[in-house]
């Protein structure tokens, strides 16, 4: 282990920090890009969905409700209840649901948090 030295010039070591890159990002201007497998909000492919309701059965927080969409049933997800565990996407038999890196889903009222099949099937 290195011991503490008490040289007179020791504080000058701090000067080298002036030439280093900053360690943090200034958030609204720049943000850390989510990685490949990041579990953000879900994306629905209504053509692949067969309406089996597996996603709503495995959801630990009861965030998914099956609603009428066209001629079949598709999931409607309440993002306020969702814990982004990704079990719905993992257990989907036709892989109609997938987790995306979209994390900017905050809104000004509660209705914004409810993602119906239409809203769920669009990116952004």
């Amino acid at each position: 282990m290195k011991t503490m030295t008490s040289s007179f010039f020791e504080p000058l070591k701090l000067l080298k920090n002036l030439f280093k890159k900053p360690m943090t990002l200034i958030f609204p201007m720049e943000s850390l890009p989510p990685l490949e497998y990041y579990r953000g909000r879900q994306l629905l492919d209504p053509e692949k969905c067969v309406g089996c309701g597996m996603c709503s059965k495995v959801c630990p927080n009861d965030a998914i409700k099956m609603v009428e969409y066209g001629e079949k049933k598709c999931p409607e997800i309440h993002m306020g209840k969702c814990c982004f565990c990704g079990l719905c996407a993992e257990n989907c038999p036709t892989k109609a649901l997938e987790m995306t890196g979209d994390i900017f889903i905050a809104g000004y009222d509660k209705t914004f948090a409810v993602y119906d099949p239409e809203k769920l099937s669009h990116r952004e």
Binding site: M1, K2, T3, M4, M23, P34, L35, E36, Y37, Y38, R39, M54, K57, V58, C59, P60, C83, F84, C85, G86, L87, E90, N91, M99
Partner: protein
């Protein structure tokens, strides 16, 4: 202690105190000296044990992450092992190795956070910044491997949810290079710093006999000189195939507990590298487990070594797809409710953050 005597003075420590982490204790003071500590848990109670009775074995996996936010892998590891025993499911060897690797990364994650918070409450902000930088780089690996940053939700009964990525060994060697470099910084700023050592030496003494009596586990017990570690005493997963030492210290004061944790970080890095060498190819998940799998009518008790001590699960199954009862034994419970008042008695008020954080409790784990 209720008294009208003006020589005693009571002040609350927490629940909204920067160095208590949402734990409430009432301190009774005689001048600068602490006469009595009355812990008052419950601020973070969320009722996990009851919630687990309403969820299936798969749905409980994301839930148990929340028991201790700083050490989610250990909570998951205990839960999935207990549920595998009641479900009667085997786990492929590769799945077990991946679990051990991630659980040890979780231990390093927890200890870096602890270094950061300890440095902060004892007035060393540079240490805090470096430690939280390290934490961020481990969290980034969590994100790459599991998809979640703080709550990985990675272990499920029957294995793990995803295989390790191909670039994982490279990521780990890069991470460990960084942590090893920063460990020198921690030594310089914290562990070998005279100001720090003077604040920690002979503070919050806990001898071996008392530590066992008070229910201390993990680094707190090992710092008192007792060589006890569930990973070695009752090996689970693949720990019997791995080489590692059990770190012990003699003195049992706050400094011994600090050094114990600091050395455990190096030991955990050794375990991860060893496990990466020995990891076999093959399946990482037993496909027999379905979201609707039913358990037999049985019960089990499983305990493991988390970053803070022994984490145990007593699970009773009644033949349905949901557990009938789950009892969680968190390590922090005895650390805050028994050891903290005993260690803090007769100390001065300025020593409270040092004693409290040398025990490394997690209030979320105390209240559950």
């Amino acid at each position: 202690m209720k008294t009208q005597d003006t020589s005693f003075f009571t002040i609350p420590f927490g629940p909204c105190h920067p160095s208590s982490g949402h734990f409430h204790a009432v301190l009774t003071l005689d001048g600068e000296q602490i006469v009595n500590v009355e812990p008052d848990p419950g601020f973070l109670h969320r009722g996990f044990e009851k919630l687990m009775e309403y969820r299936t074995y798969l749905q409980n996996a994301p839930l148990v992450d929340r028991i201790c936010i700083l050490d989610p892998f250990a909570a998951e590891l205990g839960y999935v092992n207990a549920s595998e025993q009641v479900l009667g499911i085997d786990v492929p060897e590769r799945g077990r190795f991946i679990r051990v690797i991630m659980a040890e990364l979780g231990r390093i994650l927890s200890h870096t956070t602890w270094i950061g918070v300890t440095a902060m409450v004892l007035g060393q902000d540079s240490g805090r910044n470096i430690a939280f930088g390290d934490r961020e780089s481990i969290i980034r690996i969590n994100e790459i491997v599991t998809g979640g940053r703080i709550y990985p939700c990675f272990f499920i009964p029957g294995g793990v949810r995803r295989d390790l990525p191909d670039e994982f060994p490279a990521l780990i060697s890069e991470l460990f290079k960084r942590i090893e470099k920063n460990l020198e910084q921690y030594d310089y700023l914290i562990f070998n710093n005279d100001t720090f050592r003077l604040r920690l030496e002979d503070v919050g003494l806990l001898n071996a006999e008392n530590a066992i009596d008070y229910g201390a586990t993990g680094p707190n017990l090992r710092a008192s000189g007792v060589k006890a570690d569930v990973r070695r005493d009752d090996p689970y997963e693949v720990y019997e195939q791995l080489d590692f030492d059990i770190i012990t210290q003699e003195k049992g004061d706050a400094l011994a507990r600090f050094m114990c944790r600091r050395m455990e970080m190096e030991e955990s890095m050794k375990i991860v590298l060893d496990a990466l060498d020995k990891i076999p190819d093959g399946d990482f998940k037993n496909k027999k487990f379905r979201p609707t799998s039913k358990a037999g009518e049985t019960e089990t008790y499983f305990c493991l070594e988390s970053a803070r001590g022994e984490q145990c699960y007593h699970m009773v199954a009644d033949g349905t797809d949901k557990p009938y009862r789950v009892k969680v034994r968190g390590p922090s419970f005895s650390h805050t409710l028994v050891e903290f008042p005993k260690c803090a008695r007769n100390a001065t008020i300025a020593d409270i953050p040092a004693i409290y954080w040398s025990l490394d409790p997690c209030p979320a784990d105390v209240d559950r």
